[in-house]
């Protein structure tokens, strides 16, 4: 690449540097802010004796082993099941009408906030929940709920199920994007022509190509599932909780020295995630080896279709059913009068819950929108800057660059946010929407980048050439031709960004110092109270807050392009 073209990036040359700084700066600063206290160094609290005591205190905590085990088992199980479900769904059904229907159903569910999904699931499966109510007493004989440990079970099964249901839509969309680049249809046709069963043929011929493309998103799912806090608070066990939840508890202990233990535990959490990623990587190699042997044996495995195809559609249906039924449960509770077990529906419906909690939810919606729009606006500006710089240099994002973008999603939030909070406080700006917006930016930016990258690169450069020939400068081409033509993917990326921002719990809570109540933090705070009607109102409001931008992203281009049908990007 010549020197001339690099300078040709002009004012956009700084964008990639700034982007990396904005994304990785907080992560690095936060990790430093976690690392030092973990070794006893927290001068802000008058503690500066460097030692291993925090780790000793951590080791003395009797809940440590079960908490670690929970983190690892729920994370690995959730990732395996979600990936397996998506693979079977693709293997058995891609290209069919049923697949397209499920795809349409699952895609919007990607944006349903984790907390809302978790509330919905908890009400669905509890012994006094919707499923039990629907079957009682006529089928189960239960006049009152049985004493069964389903939600908050010590093995984390409910937590795992919730994570599987929520992560499947994400992996599905990622795999869909990869499908186009793997020539899947022709590979499958060749395999089937050679007599392979549908599922076996897909797994042997297509899956390796797809997996190579979605490896990073799978790692993100693994890291996220191992260290999630809000979902674990609602669905996970509490005696003891998973390690990440315990870190948050220690962080909020009135005794400041507990922050040292919290930091040590946060580092342990990071090590666990890295270890699990390494284990997963080993597993990849093993599966590749076994898979190769399986492929070489040449078994056509046509009978497997009879079992695996239904399993694929069941797993896709499970995800959709869990999320949709959960949301329906929230909506019904938000309108419920008295509703006792085992009645399948409330005795009466009332607007009272909305009148009571509506104003509070509306106020939180304002702050939620402010933070979301500001962080998404910044993210869009930076991403467009990066992509434009990339375009002008004529050089696409390298593999290393892709890793940089994914890095904030791979480092557990709980490992660096507490450190970031302490650091911000020491530097004197710990509260208010400003830091929260920057905190959200770290997580919004990667998704906006991933969402906008491909359509941006796919833009037909000839339109730009024509504009240049008509005398427009590069900036004018960007502003008057490229951005307007790409308005649809831009809006979609913005909607994805808003969904990510709305769903953030820990960054809002820790960076905002409690002064930035968003729908998600309010909903999780209410969850500790267990008032299902209030949770219903907030859960529905939270879901609307992400659905409305998606609807707008779909409808606005139709309005804007009303008279310019040829201008689609």
């Amino acid at each position: 690449m010549s020197r001339r073209t690099i300078s040709g990036a002009g004012p956009f040359a700084a964008a990639p540097v700034l982007t990396v700084l904005v994304m990785l700066g907080p992560v690095a600063a936060g990790l430093a802010g976690t690392l030092l206290p973990a070794f006893g160094y927290l001068p802000a609290a008058g503690l500066d004796a460097v030692s291993l005591d925090p780790f000793r205190d951590l080791a003395d905590w009797p809940g440590l082993w079960p908490a670690m085990r929970l983190s690892v088992t729920t994370g690995l199980a959730a990732t395996l099941l979600a990936l397996g479900g998506v693979a079977l769904l693709f293997a058995g059904w891609s290209g069919t009408r049923a697949f397209r229907a499920l795809e349409r159903l699952l895609s919007p569910l990607l944006s349903v906030p984790h907390a809302a999904m978790a509330f919905g699931l908890a009400f669905l499966i509890a012994p006094s929940g919707w499923i039990a109510r629907a079957l009682s007493p006529w089928a189960t004989g239960w006049e009152r709920p049985p004493d069964l440990l389903i939600v908050q079970d010590p093995w984390g099964i409910a937590l795992t199920m919730g994570l599987v249901a929520k992560e499947m839509p994400f992996l599905l969309l990622m795999a869909l994007a990869a499908l186009g680049q793997t020539d899947a249809r022709r590979r499958l046709r060749v395999a089937q022509a050679a007599g392979y069963g549908r599922v076996a043929g897909w797994l042997k011929a297509v899956f390796p190509g797809i997996y190579a493309q979605i490896r990073l998103p799978v790692y993100v799912v693994l890291a996220y599932s191992m260290s999630v806090v809000d979902v674990a608070l609602i669905l996970g066990p509490s005696t003891p909780p998973p390690l990440s939840v315990q870190v948050v508890r220690w962080m909020s202990d009135p005794d400041l020295s507990m922050r040292l233990v919290a930091s040590a535990a946060a580092l342990l959490q990071l090590a666990l995630v890295l270890g699990a990623l390494a284990l997963w990587r080993l597993g990849e190699a093993l599966v590749a080896r076994l898979g190769l042997a399986w492929i070489e044996r040449g078994a056509r495995a046509r009978l497997a279709d009879r079992v695996l195809r239904p399993l694929g559609v069941v797993s896709g249906g499970f995800s959709a059913a869990v999320i949709l039924a959960g949301l329906a449960g929230l909506a019904v509770w938000s309108l419920a009068g008295f509703w006792s077990f085992p009645e399948p529906l409330p005795r009466g419906f009332t607007a009272q819950n909305w009148m009571r909690h509506g104003p509070g939810a509306w106020e939180a919606t304002g702050l939620t929108a402010l933070v979301a729009l500001a962080s998404v606006g910044l993210a869009l500006a930076l991403v467009v800057g990066c992509l434009e710089a990339e375009y002008r240099r004529g050089r696409a994002l390298s593999q290393a660059g892709l890793w940089l973008i994914y890095l904030p999603l791979l480092v557990p939030q709980i490992a660096f946010l507490p450190g970031l909070q302490t650091l911000l406080l020491v530097l004197g700006f710990g509260a208010g929407p400003g830091p929260v917006i920057l905190g959200h930016l770290v997580f919004v930016l990667p998704y906006v980048f991933l969402s906008l990258g491909d359509p941006w690169r796919a833009w037909d450069g000839r339109a730009g050439t024509v504009a240049r020939a008509l005398g427009a400068g590069p900036l004018r081409v960007l502003l008057r031709v490229r951005l307007p033509m790409l308005i649809r993917p831009l809006l979609t990326a913005a909607a994805v960004g808003v969904a990510v921002s709305v769903g953030q719990y820990l960054p809002t809570l820790l960076v905002g110092g409690g002064r930035v109540p968003t729908l998600t933090t309010e909903a999780v705070a209410l969850a500790s109270g267990g008032d299902r009607r209030a949770i219903g109102v907030y859960g529905v409001a939270q879901t609307l807050a992400v659905m409305v931008p998606f609807a707008a992203a779909l409808m606005l281009p139709a309005l804007i392009y009303r008279n310019r049908r040829g201008l689609h990007g």
Binding site: S238, L423, R533
Partner: protein
Amino acid sequence: MTPFQTARTLALAASLALPAPLALAQAPDPADWAQVTEAAEGQTVYWHAWGGDTATNDFISWVGDRVMAEHGVTLEHVKLSDTGDAVTRVLSEKQAGEDADGAVDLIWINGPNFAAMKDAGILFGPFAEDLPNWQYVDVDGKTVQTDFTVPTEGLEAPWAMAQVVFMYDTADIEGPLPSAEAIRDWAANNPGRFTYPQPPDFLGATFLKQTLIELVDDNAVLGAPVDEADFQAVTAPLWDYLDALTPNLWRQGRAYPASGPAQIQLLADDEIDLAISFNPNEASRNIAQFKLPETIRTFVLEDGTLGNASFVAIPYNSGSKAGAMVVANYLMSPEAQVRAQDPEVLGYNTVLDMQALSDEQRAAFDALELGVATLSPAELGRVQPEPHPSWMTRVTEEWIERYGVVQ
């Protein structure tokens, strides 16, 4: 990442933060009320209070409307899931040198959190006894000047009285259970139908203390700090009791509700038949709001139950101390107290002395009706004093070790 880059990132963060309030007012003198109200006008008070109870949230929101109308004070309720969060916040701010305008202006507080803040010297005041409405407070009849045996010394202002009651479903339990032993025996015959919020939740810790008081022969030892007693010997009966009770708890004690309201939801779902409450009126209010079945009633133990006051305190580094004092004063007003005692709103007992009120004010209290499941003051019986806060801390820690990490 070099330190330089880090600093730049953070400088960017600073430039985007909202501007801090322009003038950092001098701490106003609570005795000069005219000056306080003048300084309060236009201030925003961030009241950090537990946000898990929607009835309390509604009450706080109403207080916000009233102080805005009367004094031009904006009240923002910061809904905590744990009061400790606010204490930590102030402590970290002090360590970080944020002495002028911290995030917390007012905290709903009592017990160990108050003791911790008082010890650390991070409370503003004394102010409470200089507030104009202090004249109505029942200083002799109610424990408003000590908080878990710790003298308040004007550092916190009382706003509600609480007493432990047990809510039970008359459809499943025939009558009141007179003692901790009776509860244990009933649970043995009805396994899986009783639980309590998981300590360190405040109400869960209260259940432990209530049981401890029931089982300890001489309660005097609990009034002094735990260090002065033989902790293991004093609490041994409690652990024996819990060892016997736990297998008969809801989910065999392998899971607990997260909080009092979560426990009420279990009662409403008919997952349990018996639950502890720190508000004698909570059952009536929830019945009135269709959140509990009409068959729920309440009882107290024969030897009496724990009682205490809820307070508000102002951190030393609040930037809106005048506004916070206006709110604290309003909370002690007859108007706010009548509303807080209204069974349909909150149903907390008042901190005021009926004799100190005018006839008209007293009439407003007299007009309040007891809820269907609320005991009369006579039926509520003897109020047991709170143990020293160090007991709550130690008992909670011990509980977590014994039962909180069992699996």
